[in-house]
Symmetry: C2
Subunit: 294 residues, 2 copies
């Protein structure tokens, strides 16, 4: 059995599962301050006899093994966690191999192994929730690059007449600032799940998300885009986003995936709301595979 | 010796070089209609005893070997070339192995072998000229994905008071529409090379290009960005772009490459104006290597 953590700014979901992505037990722990939250995480995994642990974590993170701050949370707006070495802290508490990556890189890894990105070499998992983030597979490899993508912070163009300042502490009105769950709540004074289907919020939301997708398509040329996270539970967003993406691309990308078959191009995650936690399992498996090689 | 073609919408540069990226001879042929241009290209390579030929080509292109239109130019605004099978045409004329990729993928391949991207695993080569295009290396592999990137067509935000409609036939005011060479010329009634250093064109140009770079940094997390093409011959653009990129990121990406060392992060190509043609050599080398493996 493997241990998995999906660590977010609001909650840590911890679970146990097997090498086929099946979760057999899970628990949710609120994200408060590091010592308290990680104390409860360690308590959960004690005596669970896990072989390895995978941590899909909110960010930004330092994922460069050569860096003196490897495994640290860096410029996160969650101040209690800024500059905190989450990897070392967990390693001190739990005597198993631990692999760390971003929450969304973990999710695309799981979707590639068991979900809607199986058989593809280049794909994007975008979560739209408390934040907006992208996990990216390119030619069969998880994209880290200099650090890791921060795909939610791309530039978008304001809709005509939209004066909402945005909620991103660093950029104001980047995609995350305009279209994350907190942006919806601040703009309309109500959480997305409480807004009716015919509320103007959804057309605006679909427009901003479609802008982001057009940008990702131009830069990454993914074979498929998976949209998950709390905001995407409003399933009516999918057809609206697909239509707007096609309109914005305006015939320039001549591929059947977009021109003929966009319903299978922009899709929900195959693992439903489990992509992140299953991603922890996939990371844990990588940790043991790496150990065998090493 | 290898043959190389850098095929653009204005001209085809053809050359001969060795496996260390050294060009020993080259010629420029205007881009008119396919039969005429490719006739002259074939004439140049005849009796040159090349082992293989690499074609870095303008696009969009179909680069999927499984596709019935593999090697075709697809939705290019150059109407005489739209839907033209450039790969098959060259193969009919020249009896050597030929490898094809986008002009910018060829360029980043050459920069990775011999230029400013040596030793890196994730890097971007952006050309700013007749069009804007990106060649992308991710974790050591050239990014193709579904098709190939069309990085010049990302969404940008208009500068305050800027009413220029943009020149992109598909999108109007995408990055290419607002900041390519033809956009500068149409906006100011004068080619970029004829505009003085203190002309307001350059601050606007740097702002749009910086927006594109911020988006690429958020999506790709490149270890370095190389900026080439005719417009970037105005070298004063580099410091302006670097400053604006740092301002727009606003401390969110906490990496020494950006915070401390941006002069070595956003740089001219190591091969100067030869990245594209050397890219043809690098592709030709890949064609012979693939043949050996096959």
């Amino acid at each position: 059995m493997f241990g998995a953590i999906e660590a977010g700014g609001t909650k840590f979901v911890c679970g146990i599962g097997d090498d086929r992505g099946r979760i057999v037990d899970q628990i949710t722990i609120p994200t408060t301050v590091p010592e308290e939250t990680l104390g409860r995480v360690a308590e959960y995994f004690q005596n669970k006899a896990i072989r390895a642990l995978g941590l899909g974590c909110f960010g930004p993170l330092d994922l460069d093994p050569a860096s003196p701050t490897y495994g640290f949370l860096t410029s996160t707006p969650k101040l209690a966690w800024r500059g905190f070495n989450i990897l070392a802290n967990l390693r001190r508490r739990l005597a198993v191999p631990i692999a760390i990556d971003t929450d969304v890189n973990a999710a695309i890894l799981a979707e590639h192994r068991w979900g809607a990105a199986q058989g593809l070499h280049t794909a994007l998992y975008l979560t739209v929730g408390t934040g907006i983030g992208g996990g990216i597979l390119v030619e069969g490899q998880i994209l880290h690059g200099m650090m890791h993508p921060e795909a939610g912070h791309v530039i978008v163009r304001r809709a005509a007449g939209d004066n909402f300042p945005g909620v991103c502490p660093a950029h104001g009105d980047c995609l995350e600032g305009m279209a994350s769950g907190p942006a919806i709540e601040k703009r309309w004074g109500s959480k997305g799940r409480d807004l009716p289907l015919d509320h103007p919020a959804w057309d605006l939301e679909a427009g901003y998300l479609a802008q982001g997708l057009v940008t990702y398509i131009c830069v990454l040329s993914p074979q498929r885009i998976l949209l998950g996270g709390g905001v995407m539970q409003q399933a009516d967003l999918f057809p609206r986003i697909r239509q707007k993406v096609r309109e914005m691309l305006n015939g320039y990308i001549q591929r059947p995936e977009i021109v003929a078959n966009i319903e299978e191009y922009i899709v929900p995650p195959g693992l439903g709301t489990k992509s992140g936690l299953c991603g922890g399992l996939a990371l844990a498996m990588k940790a043991t595979e790496a150990r065998k090689e090493g």
